[in-house]
């Protein structure tokens, strides 16, 4: 042994090598998951982005966001050139060129136009769902956290609500389909054959025949699905407000409602907001519930038309288009390169929408975590 050698120098051992190898493997697993995510996201973005833009000014494909899905007409002329045109343009073109040769004409469903209808439908579904879920959910959370005690029954109720948060969405869908589409009460002039039972009130009947496949049924189903999440999240943020705030408020002689309004709710609001965004993320991404309760493939007009033409009730009981269901329909189209832009564009738009909400909810949550420390 020479004197220059450092006796405390770490020895290269098998154990250390193994340690490094193990850490490397775990790190690889982590980055593999993230890599897959980036790959999928990148693939969808790469394929979908071209649909968002076009080559001439204003460069953004506004038509994609402002028009409804349409049929694409495809044909050849005598020289073998391939033509494709949306259905409505085709009629105009045909009038202008009555002598044009049209060979092998065929139509591709949903392959032209845009995603305005589905986009509006999804927005409506999410909006009404959140109105129902928030008004019931926040009140229930306030009651559970502020008014009722911590008895056995209450903890049992909390536990059941929590349990329901993990129930698959298809079960909620099935329930909503059975109740809201087929058994909910409705006032009609003529009782349908499938009505469960009916009372007569004045000249019309209150019939339990359901709302059919409709905006209302879809919103209610989604609301019930997201209710456990909202209740639990809101209650959590209410409980996080320190008890001292309440005690101080009571000490000043305010009533319980005053306390809740002035001393509890303002501080729980960021948490409730996070819960709301979280709920929206969940609801907007769901397909199965709206597939069973709210959407139909033969709906082509915008939902607003029913409001103008037939009134409010017709507006709520019409079926709507929705983006996730639209994507599901697009996925079943026959494999044709001309259908691809719509498939990819709609998917990317939907992904962006949901990821946007997810991003907001993660950012909000991190801010709440950092800021609210009493």
């Amino acid at each position: 042994m020479t004197a220059s050698e450092n006796p405390f120098k770490a020895k290269r051992s098998w154990t250390q090598f193994r340690g490094k190898l193990g850490v490397g493997t775990f790190g690889a697993a982590t980055y593999f998951i993230l890599f897959c995510a980036v790959l999928i996201f990148g693939q969808i973005a790469y394929k979908g982005l071209p649909t968002f833009f076009k080559s001439e000014a204003p460069y953004v494909n506004t038509e994609f966001f402002t028009s409804n899905p349409e049929i694409l007409r495809v044909w050849h002329d005598a020289e073998g050139n391939k033509f494709s045109m949306p259905d409505k343009d085709f009629d105009i073109w045909r009038e202008k060129n009555p002598d044009a040769v049209i060979l092998d004409p065929h139509a591709l469903n949903y392959s032209a136009g845009g995603i305005a209808g589905p986009l509006v439908g999804t927005a409506l579904l999410v909006f009404f769902c959140m109105i129902i879920a928030l008004s019931i959910g926040i009140s229930a959370a306030i009651y559970l956290s502020e008014y009722c005690g911590k008895g056995r029954i209450m903890s049992l109720i909390r536990l059941s609500i929590l349990n329901l948060a993990g129930v698959p969405s298809i079960v909620f869908a099935l329930f909503g389909w059975g109740i809201f589409c087929h058994a909910a009460p409705v006032i009609v002039d003529h009782v349908d054959e499938r009505s469960l039972f009916a009372f007569s009130i004045g000249s019309s009947y209150l019939s339990f025949q359901g709302w059919g496949t409709s905006l209302l049924a879809g919103s209610c189903t989604l609301a019930i699905m997201v209710l456990p999440v909202i209740i639990t999240a809101c209650e959590e943020s209410l409980r996080a407000v320190p008890g001292g705030f309440r005690e101080a408020s009571f000490a000043l002689g305010s009533s319980q409602w005053q306390t809740i309004r002035k001393a509890v709710l303002p501080y729980a609001l960021p948490g409730i907001l996070t819960a709301t965004v979280l709920g929206i993320t969940r609801v907007a991404g769901e397909t199965a519930p709206i597939m069973l309760t709210a959407t139909s493939t033969d709906k082509t007009d915008m939902p607003m038309q029913a409001l103008q033409n037939e009134g409010v009730w017709a507006f709520f009981t019409q079926s709507v288009q929705a983006l996730p269901f639209h994507i599901y329909t697009l996925a079943k189209l026959p494999d044709d390169p001309l259908s691809k832009p719509m498939q990819n564009g709609a998917t990317f738009a939907f992904l962006l929408l949901v990821m946007g909400f997810a991003f907001i909810s993660i950012v909000l949550r991190n801010r709440v975590r950092k800021k609210l420390k009493w």
Binding site: T15, G19, G22, V23, F26, A28, A29, T30, F32, I33, L34, C36, A37, Q43, I44, I136, S139, A140, Y143, S145, S160, L162, N163, A165, P168, I170, V171, L174, F175, G178, I179, H182, L227, T232, R239, V241, G243, G253, S255, Q256, W257, G271, L278, E286, T287, A288, M291, L292, P324, Y328, A331, T347, F350, V354, M355, A358, F359, I362, L372, K373
Partner: protein
Amino acid sequence: MLRFRLLYLQIPAVPADKPTNKPAPSFKGKRGLRLMGLNITTDGVVKGFFGGNAYLAILALLFICVFLLKSGLGFVPGYRVELSEARVSGIELTNRVRYELTGYKALLARVNQAFIAEKRHLFSDEESAIYLYEEFEALIDDEFEEDIEQYVDLDDGAEKEAASVKLRADIATACSTISEKQLLLSLARRLPDLKKISPEARQQALTLAQEYALNDAETPDAVAAISTRISQEMGTFNTAIQRIKSAGKPLSQLEATLTRQTEETDRILKLNRQTSGSILALEEGLKKAHKRDEPSETITAIEDRLKKSRGSFIEIDTEALIQPVYQAIQNHDLIVDTLVSELAAAFDTLPSEFENKQVTATINEARQLNGELAVIIAKQKENINAWRHDKDVNLSNALTAFFFGSEWQTGSPWQNVYGLMPLFTGSLLVASVSLLFAVPLAIGAALYVNQFAHKREAALIKPGIEFIQAIPSVVLGLFGVLVLAGLLKEWSHSPLLSWIPGFPITERLNVLLAALLLAFMAAPTIFTLAEDALNNVPKAFTEASLAMGATKLQTAIKVVLPASISGIIAAIMLGFGRVVGETMVVLMVAGNKAKIPEFSEGLGVVGQPVHTMTSIIAQEYGEVTEGSLHWQALFMVGLVLFTISLVINSTCQRVLNRKTR
């Protein structure tokens, strides 16, 4: 409890101290609006409002359970009625014979396939010549009709000789103008493995076609001669296949007889059930009408309809109708015994090796099917002999038929069968394969982030992985259908990966594809919960271990992991729950084939398509009528899913709860 709630629902964790909910005694006098002896204060109203909403929410959630239970459980008695009708009418018996017949048909199909493949292998030239000849014949019919007529009208002699030479030459020119590619395309339907048309075959076909033309458009004998020669040369194989074919005839005849006998009875029974239902409803209505003193026209109308319904009730004697069935089935034993011995004899005459490996493989498969058929027949023989039409079907029979039934078949004109097993095994298979991928990745990632990663690195990775959780399942499904399905199939055919069980995959949509996508969805859930479980391990454990000189890896694997094992298991179970409940991905990429996957293929089972409990609901909800048995069956499936998820969730909560206390 709290931590579970925070993590599972991704809710911000805020350090909370316990709030006291009791209001301090207020010194302000409580004076509100006095109404009917009640003192209504703002506070009371607000409390009532919140409480009302809370109970509304709870009631709504409770209602789900009740509704599912009610809709689902109505299925059992309904299914019992259907099953007992099937028994009384003899359909159940016919189904048993059908099982045997299906087994036999599968075997026959294999043997036929082998026969055709062998024939093509040995006589590809002759076969293609015949098919080519048919192509040419069509061409001649199109273009040479007049020439042929002219030729036939000619008198014998030199002129006719010259005309025949000219016609021959014309036909040869016309036939040679068709390119080989075109011919291959039109032959592809009948000879799919034909890659090239040999010149000899083409020449032979041309000669035959010319003969056809000169023979006044009549098929020459040579064509038939070739067919006969082929079947003669196929010799033993031909005899064997004829023997196998004729062996099955009595069984199919028996099945046809039984079907004829039972179908009618079943139809009448079903009609009668409907009629008696409407009679009951009408009687009820009549009673109500009398009670309410409705006008006499209404009552007469109801009575008329009642009379009509009673008139349409068909009195049948099931005892008498079942007798022919018993008579027909008497021969069953003899028929199947002969079938088994005949098949065995026929297979004995076949050689064990063929020149073509494909044929050998197919014949071996057929032999295996023959063995299976013998087992099926032995079992069904027992079943059939023990069968009595008047044995009662009770509720537990119906329940067993649902939970352990191996067939889910709806929308068939014959009899709908609702057996959960194919769906249940499908769900289980997809979920377990996906966990096989997700668990190592997610637990590895959780260990890395919790034990080894730098703080800043972890702060980037964690939200990144949580982000994945938000990807909508329909997007992943679409990605699977459009991109991954093709890639996976392509990869599975590469020789580098042929060692993986189940490769190469023949089905585009299969278990593996669904499992890969679901693993991607389950990994974030498992990661988040497992990371939290690791986080809960007291720091002292880690520090003690490091102080003893253990490396970081040793500490992580031998100290931290065992200490948090119950939390990690709970995380895996919740991941499993999420995967089992997932609908869109499996609906889009799992293949939707309601059949119990063949586990006999070992790990290769992952290449098969399956149906799952979630996807059957999403697929069939559109085709059911309200309140029908099929509708109730779907609710029953929903109920099973509901129960599974509740059991998993509550178990996990208990585990996580205990750990954090």
